[in-house]
């Protein structure tokens, strides 16, 4: 009874102010609105109009995904949620002990280390080529490190922000060596396994159109499905990023039976991405990646990092947090980069351990070498 009277009073009170609609709305969102004091204050200060009011609801309804900074969310949650592939050896795949390992997995761990100082504080969430963007947009993951190509439409139209490139790749083709094909232009009439929802799908159509040859697309969802169909002979050719092909080839029972064709038909800069608009969080991810690249440039490795603390090179001291307060600027601890290098290693260490020439993938550094060593890997200065 008391409650009813209270509500009636609010409604009646607002009728008097000729703001009946606002009154009813306020009634509905009253409890939630308390959490959104900024908007409520604006409303009470008389700045309100219909649009402002809508924004209250919008923010209230989506409070969990849209209102606070991702960095705060991650800190409060106590672990990072990182979107990765469903399993691509060398980039992100569970190893023999069930731990996620790979270049992308290291990227996730580096961010977890930057935030928590602990490489285990990360939950890996698998996404397909198709589910990755909705998963990130809805806030189900904090970032994606999922072999994702940086393109203008994804950066601009989909509302994401690519923070860097952790692997320069290009699209290639893999065929059984028994076919005797030596160039992709000989593939007229072939059935091609292709992951849907990827840039490779579009490049493939362009390549065949440009060369005036035909093909039949067999759409697949995951790399495993592609592997299965290729090995069963349902398709003649598998096309994806060259690194992915090396990974698939390495997983075959007899890798010599498969050959990766020499053509690279596209630019595929793969990198981590976050939601657009949360620049603080974007900075954390961006500089976690850059820290690993800069560490390689400066010759800091997980083994010598402790010795480097007493280095006399100013940039080393800034990176390791001995000098300056770069950590604070990012709202992280000052030894965040030190911890990344200590626990994950520099870019080169991660590369060599996951995809380098000594791994089953056998991918030479190539474009991914430092800019000082003939590659194009380059990070802005740390100052």
């Amino acid at each position: 009874m008391y409650k009813q009277n209270l509500y009636t009073q609010i409604i009646v009170g607002n009728f008097k102010l000729n703001k009946s609609i606002i009154g009813i709305n306020l009634l509905i969102c009253y409890r939630e609105a308390i959490f959104e004091k900024r908007y409520l204050n604006n409303y009470l200060n008389g700045e309100n109009n219909m649009k402002k009011l809508l924004s209250i609801f919008a923010v209230v309804a989506f409070a969990f995904s849209a209102h606070a900074g991702t960095l705060d969310d991650v800190k409060n949650r106590g672990f990072l949620k990182c979107g990765v592939t469903t399993g691509l050896a060398g980039f992100a795949a569970p190893d023999d002990s069930g731990e996620w390992a790979g270049l992308d997995a290291d990227m996730c761990r580096a961010v977890a280390v930057a935030v928590f100082g602990d490489r285990s504080k990360v939950e890996f969430i698998t996404t397909t080529g198709k589910s990755r963007f909705p998963t990130l947009a809805s806030g189900e993951v904090d970032m994606l490190a999922r072999n994702t190509t940086w393109t203008i439409s994804r950066d601009v139209n989909l509302g994401f922000e690519f923070v860097g490139v952790n692997f320069y790749d290009g699209q290639g083709f893999m065929v059984p060596s028994a076919l005797g094909v030596s160039s992709a232009t000989e593939l007229d009439g072939a059935t091609v396994c292709i992951q849907t929802g990827t840039t490779t799908e579009l490049n493939l159509a362009d390549f065949f159109r440009l060369n005036g040859i035909s093909y039949e697309a067999l759409p697949i969802e995951t790399n495993d499905e592609g592997k299965e169909n290729l090995f069963a002979g349902r398709c003649d050719v598998y096309t994806t990023d060259a690194s992915g092909l090396s990974s698939t080839r390495a997983a075959a029972s007899n890798p010599d039976k498969w050959v990766v064709l020499p053509e690279i038909i596209s630019k595929e800069p793969l990198g981590p991405l976050v939601r657009h608009g949360d620049h603080q969080w974007g900075d954390v991810v961006r500089w976690s990646l850059n820290a690993m690249i800069i560490a390689e440039e400066l010759g800091i490795t997980s083994e010598n990092v402790d010795a480097q603390l007493s280095s006399n090179v100013p940039e080393v001291l800034r990176l390791l947090g001995v000098e300056g307060n770069y950590g604070e600027m990012l709202e992280l601890s000052n030894d965040w980069a030190y911890q990344i290098i200590k626990q994950i290693g520099n870019y080169s260490e991660s590369y060599e351990a996951n995809v380098g020439p000594d791994t089953p993938l056998e991918i030479a550094r190539g474009l991914n070498a430092l800019w000082t060593q003939g590659g194009i890997l380059y990070a802005p200065p740390f100052r």
């Binding site: 809508l54 924004s55 609801f57 919008a58 309804a61 989506f62 849209a66 080529g129 198709k130 963007f133 909705p134 947009a137 439409s153 994804r154 601009v156 139209n157 989909l158 509302g159 076919l179 593939l187 007229d188 009439g189 072939a190 059935t191 849907t196 929802g197 799908e201 579009l202 493939l204 159509a205 362009d206 065949f208 159109r209 093909y215 039949e216 697309a217 067999l218 759409p219 697949i220 969802e221 299965e228 169909n229 069963a232 002979g233 349902r234 003649d236 939601r275 657009h276 608009g277």
Partner: protein, 387 residues
């Protein structure tokens, strides 16, 4: 107490008040959902609107038996290709499921112990295993077929491999249109003969050999015409060239897996519906018709089935709807239906999830409503007519 309520004691006012309140709250809720969504889309810089439908798709769809599709075609065409593929598997699936379901339903009631037990096992197995698993099972079996270079050859003209079933494609030459016209005319006239014969039988009791005369009209007359004109039909045979067979007709394993899984799964439900329908006809009907000396097949065709249909058709309609909606599981094996092409690839390439999903949902809704509409008309036509 009563007087304090004022207007509220008026029943008419009260009912209008509460109905207005409910409608108002619903409208308010809808309003907030739409506004919240558009606010968040704008805030996250996600593009909205329908103009993407006119943009070139950029990707290829290989399974498009009715429309030629190139990567330069628009997303709108992706949609039409998807709708046609969805309809293809739904319609063929519904037909196969109905035929199979009717046969199984009748066999289940057979006095042959072994037959009825076998159908019982089939029904319990296929309707209690998730459809998705059945689709994947069929697909896994189909891609274990021989590779394209080692295709099985059947009757010299059919080739079976894990790329599908290749068969000769009929090519209709100039004179064939006369044959098609003859077939259409034959169909119409046998329909008219059937009506006339029924009327005559009702009036005089005399029978007319409707079945054999229809067969003669529909098959033999056009066939004679076909040879008189000089066989205006040839076949294009599939040939193994390079990586694949060229020419001919091909049925892809993705389609076969979907078709088999959908029709076998739904047939199990339909057979139970048919069984229930037949059992709902009272035993007296069968005994009475036997007593007047009707043949066993006639009892089924003239007495039992017409009465059973009244019970069968309404649940049959929901099975058709289920089958159509279940065809969206084609995505699991890469069958290029509406959900896979437009609701999947286009959605992903353009990022306009809400628009794509809204269109896909509206399409399924219209297909389902169309099926219901026609099934309701059919249902009305088989109900008892009070005279």
């Amino acid at each position: 107490m009563r007087s304090n309520l004022g207007f509220f004691s008026d029943e008419k006012f009260r009912s209008i008040f509460f109905q207005t309140l409910v409608v108002g709250l619903f409208a308010l809720g809808l309003f907030f959902v739409i506004n919240t969504t558009s606010y968040n889309l704008e805030k996250r810089n996600i593009a909205t609107g329908w103009s993407f439908l006119q943009n070139p798709a950029g990707f290829d769809i290989s399974f498009s038996p009715f429309l030629e599709f190139k990567s330069t075609d628009t997303h709108l065409k992706v949609y039409f290709v998807g709708v046609l593929n969805t309809l293809l598997v739904s319609i063929t699936g519904c037909i196969a499921a109905t035929i199979l379901g009717f046969i199984l339903g009748i066999v289940r009631l057979s006095s042959n112990w072994l037959l009825s037990r076998l159908v019982y096992i089939y029904v319990e197995f296929s309707r209690n295993v998730p459809l998705l698993l059945q689709i994947i099972l069929w697909y896994s079996i189909l891609i274990q077929l021989p590779r394209v270079k080692q295709s099985l050859q059947v009757l010299d003209v059919f080739y079976i491999s894990n790329r599908g079933l290749y068969s000769p494609r009929p090519i209709f030459e100039s004179g064939f249109s006369y044959v098609s016209i003859a077939i259409v005319l034959a169909l119409i006239s046998s329909f008219l003969i059937n009506r006339w014969a029924k009327k005559r039988q009702d009036k005089t009791g005399q029978q007319f050999p409707v079945f054999s005369s229809s067969i003669g009209l529909i098959f033999i007359v056009p066939l004679i015409l076909f040879f008189i004109i000089g066989s205006p039909l040839s076949f294009e045979h599939p040939e193994l060239k390079g990586f694949n067979f060229k020419g001919g007709l091909v049925i892809r394993p993705e389609f076969i897996a979907m078709f088999l899984a959908l029709s076998i799964y739904t047939a199990a439900f339909i057979s139970e519906i048919v069984r229930a329908g037949i059992m709902s006809v009272s035993k007296g009907q069968r005994e009475a018709s036997a007593a007047i000396g009707l043949k066993q097949t006639w009892i089924m065709r003239l007495i039992i089935i017409p009465q059973a249909l009244r019970v069968i058709v309404p649940p049959l309609t929901s099975q058709y709807l289920n089958l159509t909606k279940n065809s969206s599981l084609g995505i699991a094996v890469g069958y290029a239906d509406l959900v896979h092409g437009f609701g999947g690839i286009s959605l992903n390439q353009t990022g306009q999830a809400i628009e794509c999903m809204a269109i896909v949902m509206a399409t399924y809704l219209s297909i389902s409503l169309t099926i219901s509409f026609f099934m309701n008309i059919y249902n009305r036509s088989i109900q008892f007519k009070e005279k």
